[in-house]
């Protein structure tokens, strides 16, 4: 948490955009947009209907809106969150409730090298092919979903759900 922390108290209600170059703790209600350079803490009891943007986002309150963090989003015990999360790291504690899409960048579900011999050797090739076919996906970590869909073994057809999603784009 930042040193000179701004706190929006539990009796305060804000409609509009809230920006902070430092950290911010919200105990009240915000409707609109929240953009914080450092750590944003949504305390238990806070009610937020806003898109949220921060470096570190710690949530123990209720949030409806999209959440973007450059570092980490943590949903603590009492968190009630509906909306998409985009962050390289996400933690959801026992007791938190969440519904939405989570995007952390490319997820490598290829088989780990070593133990499982046969199939493992094919993976780098399959991946290389997939990346060559879709160069944007290889580079752009924040590209939603597309980035990860092509990563599959060449000899394994994508499951039906993956094909559907790929087509939709």
């Amino acid at each position: 948490m930042a040193d000179k922390q701004t706190v929006i108290g539990s009796d305060t209600q804000i409609t509009g955009e809230v920006r902070s170059e430092g950290g911010l703790e919200v105990r009240g209600r915000i409707e609109g947009k929240i953009s914080v350079a450092e750590t944003l803490t949504i305390s238990n009891g806070a009610i937020i209907q806003a898109d949220i943007d921060g470096r570190v986002v710690e949530i123990s309150g209720a949030v409806v809106g999209s959440i973007t963090a450059s570092e980490v989003v943590r949903l603590h015990d009492k968190a009630r969150v509906v909306g998409n999360i985009q962050a390289p790291r996400v933690g959801i504690a026992s007791g938190a409730q969440y519904r939405g899409q989570v995007e952390m960048g490319e997820v490598d579900v290829a088989q780990r090298a070593g133990k499982a011999a046969g199939a493992a050797q094919k993976i780098p090739v399959a991946k290389a092919v997939a990346r060559a076919a879709d160069p944007a996906a290889a580079v752009n970590r924040s590209a939603p979903r597309v980035a990860s869909v092509p990563v599959r073994r060449a000899d394994a057809p994508a499951p039906a759900w993956a094909r559907k999603k790929a087509k939709r784009r």
Partner: protein
């Protein structure tokens, strides 16, 4: 590993392609392709690799899963988990470090003030 019946283990060199069903806890260190439907617990170890639709009472992921996961009670994604697919469960725990691409769906009891609120229309 708490289990009433002894858990059964799929070793690291084993690949099963097809449909796995049953009511015995299953620990996967190898590879599964297809579909898993268990009235018990599925544990995917760090070296395990599952490319399947998964349904189980409880699911604990330490390795890689590509496919949708549905758990009756609890789904836990440990810090080493890599999941490409949607996760639905009564309760879902994600340990920081886990990589997820897909939706995470639990029932959310929003306070009345947010009852009608829709994300994206904030």
């Amino acid at each position: 590993m708490a289990a009433n019946k002894e858990a059964c283990r799929i070793g690291s060199t084993i690949t099963i392609s097809g449909n796995i069903s049953g009511d015995q806890d299953l620990i996967v260190e190898g590879r599964i392709e297809g579909r898993v439907g268990l009235d018990s617990r599925l544990i995917v170890e760090e070296i395990g690799n599952v490319e399947a639709q998964v349904e189980a009472t409880e699911v604990e992921i330490k390795g890689a899963v590509k496919g949708d996961i549905a758990a009756g009670k609890l789904a836990t994604l440990q810090s080493t988990a890599r999941v490409l697919g949607n996760v639905r469960a009564n309760k879902i725990i994600v340990i920081e470090g886990a990589m997820v691409s897909g939706s995470i769906e639990m029932d959310v009891e929003l306070p009345p003030e947010l009852a009608g609120a829709k994300p994206g229309k904030a």
